[in-house]
């Protein structure tokens, strides 16, 4: 790893949330909010990690795991209760204005563009908000317009854009001031397959240009397609930090063998694998290659059945992560 752009150590954040179900009905909501009983929830529990300049890191975890709390602290919106956090030599919340001038943030669910204005006018406003030098701004803007292929969209009011078109414009808007660090929060949410692939392609190309990127998402395909490194957070702690391949190896080694038969599934016999499903002409098996080598199981299945085709896949990454979370819950129980 090159010298770290982000250094986080022992980061802790607790929230007081209303316990809910206070039983009172009627009355002012303000008053109820004030008298509601509170309980303390630990959103981040001594989280530590380092991210080097130029890395593209996937940051995943279930809802409420502490993902957005981490991102908010790194971007200077939120002040932690304890711990150290330095981004490019600055403590984000102490020097908010200087810090946010060097980061870009894209929220998949929220627009940063002005809804009623043509895209280009939002860009021009951002130029003035970020106090960009006109010549440098024009250069960056034109590069981004080409990279993201948004030239035909510039004169269109944002509200008339499709989600995929808007997302490309959002990416451009987040990069106009040439941030060193880019946060992408669910950038592919709601996109159709074509738009999703286009956005992924753009993220990959941006990263090639040296922008350090943190991608938070529920779409694990995004992570698998894009991120050499993945951080998994659960219940406020980092559960895993490494490559997707290591994530697979660490959680379990099981693979999925899908078998297509020449005839309807009647009786399918195997002693060395678990049958996940068997319907029509297709049987799906799960096996552990450390216990039965892949050539052996193929041989066995092909010998005992009338096989037309078969293929092997790793476990879907969603399964792996779900398993990681379940393990965590077992530990906590």
């Amino acid at each position: 790893m090159s010298e770290p752009l982000i250094e986080v150590a022992g980061l802790t954040k607790r929230f007081r949330v209303s316990a809910g179900g206070s039983g009172t009905t009627g009355g002012s909501r303000t008053l109820r909010a004030l008298v509601a009983r509170r309980k303390v929830v630990t959103a981040l529990d001594e989280v530590s990690f380092r991210i080097g300049a130029g890395e593209l890191v996937g940051y995943i975890g279930p809802n409420g795991a502490g993902k957005s709390t981490t991102v908010k602290i790194l971007s200077g919106i939120l002040v932690p209760d304890a711990g150290r956090c330095v981004v490019a030599g600055r403590v984000p919340w102490r020097e908010r204005v200087a810090h946010v001038a060097t980061i870009g943030v894209v929220f998949g669910q929220r627009s940063q563009l002005w809804w009623d204005l043509p895209v280009i006018e939002s860009f021009d406003l951002l130029r003035d908000i970020y106090r960009l030098q006109p010549a440098a701004y024009r250069e960056t803007r034109d590069e981004l317009i080409e990279l993201l292929a948004i030239a035909p969209l510039l004169a269109v009011p944002v509200r008339q854009l499709s989600l995929g078109q808007r997302m490309r414009c959002e990416l451009a808007a987040a990069l106009l001031h040439r941030p060193r660090l880019l946060f992408l929060d669910e950038p592919t949410i709601g996109l159709d397959a074509v738009a999703k692939l286009a956005v992924r392609d753009i993220i990959r190309r941006l990263q090639g240009r040296g922008v350090t990127t943190i991608l938070t998402t529920h779409d694990l395909d995004d992570v698998e397609a894009l991120c050499p490194r993945v951080l998994v957070i659960g219940a406020g702690s980092i559960l895993f930090d490494g490559s997707v391949a290591d994530l697979r190896a660490g959680v379990d080694r099981e693979r999925i063998l899908t078998v297509d038969l020449e005839h309807e599934v009647g009786s399918f016999a195997t002693s060395s694998a678990t049958v996940v499903s068997a319907a029509g002409r297709r049987v799906v098996l799960r096996y552990d290659p450390t216990r039965i080598p892949t050539p052996r199981i193929i041989e066995e299945v092909a010998r005992d059945n009338d096989v037309r085709d078969l293929y092997i896949e790793p476990q879907p990454i969603d399964e792996l992560v779900a398993r990681l979370y379940r393990n965590l819950e077992l530990e906590e129980a």
Binding site: K72, V100, R110, L117, P179
Partner: protein, 280 residues
């Protein structure tokens, strides 16, 4: 696009806060002008609304002749001042007036993610140009009142009038900022606090002497709309104050407005700190 070196080259000319605020205003104006018909209707509507309100004042005074010795023209001066100040504050500080909606949608996160002062960004987030209708109508009532209240004009009184108009506008800006700041603690509900902004409009439209002690103290000390309207207008009209303040007090009373705005901005700062520690 090469990797950024993280240095931000600034442009002094384009960096002024006022300049950015005007950019926001111009942008909003153009966006609202996309529907010129709707904007025109809103302007007429807001003027009509004020007209109906003033008809109430007129009816009241027509029935009773005066309130605590204040004739219709004199009350019109108060009413016109409050309307002019309130609508100017509404038009320019609209972002604070609608701030609760921004907070709820997580919009304040976006404000914090941009390298400018939060007050500047929130003020520039929304503009109510259609309040021009109310402003014009308020100005008309004010001018009518000033012409018919028998004011002995001199240069000092002209300055006092300008000072008072500025004071009322600044005071209402302060009210919007204060009410918005409270949103940081009570994201859910605002009914309670809307009373403060709308209530001060009504309360400021009549001479403070009509109110009972408690209410009067509220309007003099807490949300000092009474202070910035009643005393200067009494001085403008050359009326002795039955409450016993010296005549020169009317000349310094509008200073309560910037003080109130400063307090509101302090509350705003506390609010943003609170937001940063709770994230909601």
């Amino acid at each position: 696009m090469a990797a950024s070196r993280g240095t931000l080259r600034t442009v002094p000319m384009a960096s002024g806060a006022v300049w950015l605020y005007l950019r926001f205003a111009a942008t909003h104006f153009r966006a609202q002008m996309q529907y010129p018909g709707a904007l025109a209707l809103q302007i007429i509507g807001s003027a009509l609304f004020t007209a109906i309100e003033f008809a109430g004042v007129w009816a009241l005074l027509n029935r009773f002749g005066n309130v605590r010795g204040w004739e219709l023209a004199e009350v019109a001066v108060l009413y016109g001042l409050v309307m002019v100040g309130f609508s100017a504050a509404e038009a320019t500080g609209r972002g604070f007036d609608t701030f609760h909606r921004q907070v709820r949608g997580g919009g304040f996160d976006r404000v914090l993610l941009r390298p400018r002062h939060t007050v500047l960004q929130v003020a520039g987030a929304d503009f109510a140009f259609h309040r021009a209708g109310r402003w014009l109508h308020g100005a008309a009532i004010l001018v009518w009142g000033l012409c018919n209240a028998g004011i002995a004009w001199n240069p000092a009184r002209v300055i006092l009038l300008a000072e008072t108009i500025a004071g009322v506008t600044v005071l209402f800006l302060g009210v919007f900022v204060a009410v918005a700041a409270v949103t940081f603690w009570t994201v859910q509900s605002l009914e309670l606090f809307a009373i403060v902004s709308n209530g001060s409009v009504d309360a400021g439209s009549y001479p403070a002497t009509v109110y009972r002690r408690f209410m009067r103290h509220f309007l003099f000390y807490l949300v000092p709309i009474g202070t910035v309207t009643y005393f200067p207008v009494a001085a403008l009209l050359g009326r002795p104050d039955p409450l016993g303040t010296p005549p020169w007090f009317g000349w310094i009373a509008p200073a309560a407005a910037p003080l109130f705005l400063a307090a509101a901005l302090l509350l705003w700062r506390l609010g943003t700190r609170h937001y940063s520690s709770t994230g909601s």
